[in-house]
Symmetry: C2
Subunit: 297 residues, 2 copies
């Protein structure tokens, strides 16, 4: 109970859309980090069930992620205000309308940010911590790298900053700390956890990945997403090259994360960060956390 | 005389095309780092004059950079074999044909690399050290970030690795060391040195830059270059969007670095890395080195 988020370790599990459900969250929180529930695709009842599943398995702190482009944020927020959780993390937008409401019910608010300007806005809102996420991360990304972003954010704001992007083991943790971060957020490394509910085919693609295996789709759509190179990304870049309309490009990508999760590694989007090249096998969450904080157990 | 490159500090000044001439090189080498002469635009006589200018001002180690896309590499190489320098750094290609020749005349060879695969190739050639350069760097870049690249390269090869990209002060140095690097290469921070022969307008643009001031041109040309956003980059992206031919795009960019150096910040390419946002003023090289290694003087 030593860190800003009341976890044993200054470690946040990155919200993994459609993936980081109760099983993974419980494993991370039990290991001393902050497990973070995805709410993508959940309604109020689904969220309630996920939270209940976490609470029945651990009393450790956990978080709920609100991806602010989701249409049903008001519904989910109302539930979280009536049934408070320890931490809410927000991404892809500003939690301006509800930071103080959440804090009033005892929930800490952590905002994921891609630049100094957004970090300063979030600090002014009074959020409890920031996650400065570099573009080596998997999934939806900005343009600044972890190395460039974290040191500029920590120099610009007084709020505790967690570094995200490219962090796999204690080397990454120490690098993040050198840049002024109080801790780290880790996403890609947890994709390779035994407790993570994605298909064996997706996990084996992570094991097979090298440092140069990721590409970034979606530039033409204003929604850059880092994922493993595969036939889908080839088709996407070919379509982009041929001047496909945004509708055509969306038709290729929409629903493709669910396909990857289900095991279709040809037509699916296998979200992953550049650090995927370091993943050598599928392991329990506890082993992944141990590699991040070997001296803390 | 404690480092692999026989410098007092494990610090390499990144080769700055058309910019890192004798004045800057001497200042860096005198401060304990490895100054690196650019050879862009130089013939044999020009290179001889630059080397002589360095040698008359310092006995400290320095390097000559060979950007291997230059047409006159055979001419420059012949000169360097006949008149050895302490270190040669190579970029944008493989020094395969001449590593052993240079080492036979007492020159250490350092290769700048963008991926694990290229690092392994260079290690197999027997180079003395590697610079693992992340895509937050200014100028010509690859796709991997410093955080993701350095830890994967240091895990894959036994050659000493210097980290480049996003390094501005001791925080960056310590982060690089945490990732397994023996030292750092710094480019953008030295652009803001008093000894650097670029126009005041270029230097003031660096001072004014924020973390998000850089963009990357040249994707369509297969030659990604990071530089400060300005009217030229706006014109470039507009042309790219409108389907301009490679010839049209080259017409916009060719010669534009020289324009920036001369002070045309509207039509010039102001090469700079993402760390430019940290540059607050123009200072002597010694002050920049002091900020990188505050405990070593």
């Amino acid at each position: 109970m030593t860190t800003v988020l009341k976890t044993r370790l200054p470690l946040i599990q990155g919200a993994l859309a459609q993936i980081s459900t109760a099983g993974l969250v419980v494993a991370v929180s039990k290991a001393g980090g902050l497990g973070v529930l995805t709410t993508t695709g959940l309604d109020e009842d689904g969220l309630a069930a996920q939270i209940a599943a976490v609470r029945t398995q651990t009393a450790a702190p956990f978080a709920v992620n609100l991806m602010l482009q989701q249409a049903n944020i008001p519904e989910l927020l109302a539930y979280l205000l009536a049934h408070p959780v320890p931490v809410v993390t927000t991404s892809a937008g500003s939690p301006k309308r509800f930071v103080t409401q959440l804090q009033a019910v005892g929930t800490q608010v952590v905002a994921v940010i891609p630049s100094v300007k957004v970090a300063q806005k979030m600090a002014a809102l009074g959020v409890d911590a920031l996650v400065a996420e570099g573009m080596e991360s998997g999934g939806h990304i900005g343009t600044l790298t972890t190395m460039a972003l974290v040191q500029q954010v920590t120099a610009a704001v007084d709020v505790p900053v967690f570094a995200a992007g490219g962090i796999y083991d204690v080397a990454g943790v120490r690098a993040a700390e050198a840049l002024g971060a109080v801790g780290v957020q880790v996403g890609t490394a947890f994709l390779a956890a035994e407790e993570t509910p994605i298909s064996p085919a997706y996990q084996q693609a992570l094991v097979a990945a090298s440092d140069t295996s990721t590409v970034v789709t979606g530039h033409a759509l204003g929604d850059a997403v880092r994922c493993l190179h595969n036939p889908l990304t080839d088709a996407y870049f070919a379509a982009e090259q041929q001047g496909a309309t945004p509708e055509d490009l969306h038709a290729l990508l929409d629903g493709s994360l669910a396909k990857a999760i289900a095991g279709d590694v040809t037509h699916g989007t296998l979200m992953a960060g550049q650090i995927a090249g370091r993943i050598a096998k599928i392991e329990p969450v506890a082993a992944i956390v141990q590699r991040l904080y070997p001296d803390e157990r």
